[in-house]
Symmetry: C2
Subunit: 658 residues, 2 copies
Amino acid sequence: MAGFTTRNGDPFDRTLFESLLKRRLFYTESFEIYRTSGKLKGDSRGLYDYGPPGCALQSNIVDLWRKHFVLQEDMLELDCTVLTPEEVFKTSGHVDKFEDWMCKDSKKGDFLRADHLIETVLEARLKGDKAARGIAAEGDEADGEGKKKKKGPKVSEIKALKLEDSMVAEYEEVLAKIDNYDGPELGQLIEKYDIRNPDGNTPVSPPVPFNLMFKTTVGPSKTAQGQFLNFKKLLDYNQNLMPFASASIGKSFRNEISPRSGLLRVREFLMAEIEHFVDPEGGKKHPKFHLVKDLQLSFLDRATQLGGKTNLHKTTIGEAVASRMVDNETLGYFLGRIYLFLLKIGVDANKVRFRQHMANEMAHYATDCWDAELQTTYGWIECVGCADRSAYDLTVHSKKTEEPLVVRESRREPLKVEEWHIDISKPKLGPLFKKNAKAVEAALFSLSQSEREPLAVTLEEKGVISVRVPDMAEQVEVSKDLISIVKRTKIENVREYIPNVIEPSFGIGRIFYSLLEHVYWHRANDPARGVLSLPISVAPTKVLIVPLSTHHDFVPLTRKITEDLRELGISCRADESSASIGKRYARNDELGIPLDVTIDFDSVKDGTITLRERDSTKQVRASQKEVFGAIKSLISGEEKWEDVFARLPEFLGQSGDD
Amino acid sequence: MAGFTTRNGDPFDRTLFESLLKRRLFYTESFEIYRTSGKLKGDSRGLYDYGPPGCALQSNIVDLWRKHFVLQEDMLELDCTVLTPEEVFKTSGHVDKFEDWMCKDSKKGDFLRADHLIETVLEARLKGDKAARGIAAEGDEADGEGKKKKKGPKVSEIKALKLEDSMVAEYEEVLAKIDNYDGPELGQLIEKYDIRNPDGNTPVSPPVPFNLMFKTTVGPSKTAQGQFLNFKKLLDYNQNLMPFASASIGKSFRNEISPRSGLLRVREFLMAEIEHFVDPEGGKKHPKFHLVKDLQLSFLDRATQLGGKTNLHKTTIGEAVASRMVDNETLGYFLGRIYLFLLKIGVDANKVRFRQHMANEMAHYATDCWDAELQTTYGWIECVGCADRSAYDLTVHSKKTEEPLVVRESRREPLKVEEWHIDISKPKLGPLFKKNAKAVEAALFSLSQSEREPLAVTLEEKGVISVRVPDMAEQVEVSKDLISIVKRTKIENVREYIPNVIEPSFGIGRIFYSLLEHVYWHRANDPARGVLSLPISVAPTKVLIVPLSTHHDFVPLTRKITEDLRELGISCRADESSASIGKRYARNDELGIPLDVTIDFDSVKDGTITLRERDSTKQVRASQKEVFGAIKSLISGEEKWEDVFARLPEFLGQSGDD
């Protein structure tokens, strides 16, 4: 892997990038003035507020998500409560199963995530090895190598140690499989490789499980539970038609024990989740599969990872499903839709891969699971999960509540089912078993079809059978005059089944952060002049209005253009500060504003204004009406900048972009 | 007050109305299948999920809110965390002050809100009195009389008791002032009027305070705190320009001890809050006040309520501010904007009033506070608060964190300030007071300007002054040779002030429910045929596509029109069920879908389709292109139905609306 670079090939400087995001208020640590004044007792890290551009970008991403999924696929959107009773979580498995394995540094008292610790240490050793061998430690500047790599010791701090070749291969294999180990296995690795806390070189305790969900009586939720609990009502709302999907957007919470990596590991985050309910019979076909089957994706499948490799396999979704690498059409369809969504919001197609979960990583009931991962300076980050969860969720909630969460549909052809029936002579059974009669009856009726068949034979042959009755010490003998077991044919006109669910689940905050890394670059030879090339559809503000100077002649026109754009529902800002026009352009390139309208003395005279495009810094000049027309068609997507640039006269004076 | 009626004057049947909302899945109780199966231990009432139409309506309301406030007023929107450390809440006063007064029914163990209990009982007595006097108990059918009335005993259950005239007046006065009583006063009323739990007639305990915020280490939040904590960054983002406003939309939580009244008293709700920061000097003028000053609102001011009345005073915002009934222009401006927003989403102008808070109801630091209340079958419901909170929030957070949350601006004219300065001769003071020298020095410097002036006179006259020094038992004498107190003139070029804040705060769930009551009515003489006349801008789905029957000839065109509308970003649904066309229209009138496109055999032949308007049930017929044009202009607001109806030919066949 080459070092992580910006879209135009420059090395990626994360320090400059993060300082841009904070300076322009994309996000900020929550309660910062409390934290810096030392007024907070507890650990309240891992919480961030989104400032005006971040908030607008997030809501534009969510808006596009709604259009791409809910509107275009006719999904049923729900808004479910965050507060969820513990009983619901217990059933869904969230209370018991969502846990991380943590090691304690007994000297410092720190808790460290076992998998991250192993990654950090082994990657550092590999880097040290490369240094010793005289190979450039790739990605070093950007801290960008390795999967989900967290802050580790700098290469310069590591003793350049040459590893044996076999050891290099072993480490690389461990790293490729890191998500597949359970707690005890992580413990073994720590012992085997003598892994210690890099910060002080202290040994750490064996990993212990740590539950990620907050422990509160009325606890926080994944949005998905509400979709399962309302399944019957949704099916009814959908006029009993299958398949269908529901969707939900809402806050989720994780009790991250040591939040870090900025926006990537936080305690509170926005999730957008889809539950697509599908008939488990018939191979989970999807009627719109043909629309995505020719899309080519980069896959990292289970077998490759278990082989200790991370090579990407480029192929079409159609082939991936045909070869059964991806389990079924519906799952494949959603991988395609996820990919298209990511491109639409501006993600770099070369920095997306689909990684399959390994067996231990996946819930036991899941049929298949793929993560859309985006490449960042922190490594490959899981941003969207897409799992086939089989009938698990509906089954467990249904069992717990005794509410049948099923689909009932008329069979085209009635189904004939041969079944063993038990007929009991109650007038004889009652007096014989007295107070136990009911229990005996229940035990007989609870016999399964496979148990009934041999018993029918025994009864026929010996005239008596033995049955175990719960709460009675000995088996009970029941003779031919009390019961008969006979085969009868039943006609079933209705088919009843529990749907399977395909669950695409989007971490909006992670997508948000990774997208910003993908669109960030800087002007040639000037790392200080950062640009965020956000597509116009998600850009926080669409148009900046810039008068040439603070001259009072410009004020009325600046106000008027601002009001007129707002009237059209176009998000815009005027920058009337006294900074030079170049500085103002640069400031707003950092905000990712795609279009600038400039007002100069000619504008005041003849009403013409200029329109500047952020990425190329090229400008055109035309009447307000023409420029507004261009802005509208650029926002609606009817035209691209090249079209506008081709049909309106270029403006070459006072570019300001020097 | 007349009984609560629907928009066309029919009595309002809340049972039918609520059954419509639940049947069409506008909302549903959360975890219902757990509740009905008895699997929930704790009290998890007061939590609701919004189904597809409810969720879409809510997000359309929020969308319009963003356009009306954030976009049009250029506010800085933030997305702040729900999780908030306790320290922040303590400072903001939320932990100590947000409380209700609760009475315990010791027999049943129920907790009842003291103010609601008094309201319920006194209103029931007044109704009984009317019944005894033979006056029709108004609003009885709809259970709709009285302010914020909750479920009480039915009139039929109350002994018809004639009250003395003076008692009627007393009760009415208590009810008008109910929001102004504190806990002990509520206790006195309960004793005086022998108020008991209507459910069993048991006496109740005196009221005790009950904190409404959840008690968790990392507790839930009002969105506002994040806006105050980020004030400095926002001011900087706004290039130091005042006034400006920030805005936030987010979930809030209340530990309602006995949730009831459906969507009106819930534990989790969506809030949209604005903090408008304004210079406290200069009368809090607003530059756009002229745009709202002629709007006529219905006001219920403090004085009227204290006089025991609830008469509404209709006047313009301009007059209300001029007479100082409303404290200032900025507050008045926001009352106007709130009113316009409510009308825009479809609230009935005759069911809106602005009620001023009484002294006890208002926080001590607030300058003035008005609630926009919407009239419903539950009485007048507070849906939007609009308070002038003075400099309170910024001041307390600033004190706690020692971070100056202030505006600094250059003065046009430097200000000359005469100040008393204290000059100390340290070489003399040190040896004299030894280890106390620092404390004495600090005590001297901490003397206020008003204390310094007389001390200067004393020092001049007697040559010595006495000063109290913290931590020292006796006053300290300081003589002329140690200090001098002199008047000097200081030139201030910078003005520094803590902005005041005007806070409009919207309870989206309450607005949502009240709006639905306002737009609900039923077809003439048929209470079972309900209609929700939601404006097209907020309607959950804009267009329903209805083929005449399930005939297979209609399938391709139905699919095509659905896809074409989605392509245009228009939210639509096809109803291809086998129900009669009239039934399908009726079903979708209940969903508030404003437009129906009908496909019949002529459509298949010549491509023309019909467009039906929900409220009038009138239809036009034209080509797909013309109908799509009409749909687009109706949604964008360029045309009204009357315009479309006037220019496209009416369709009179197969209306289906019989």
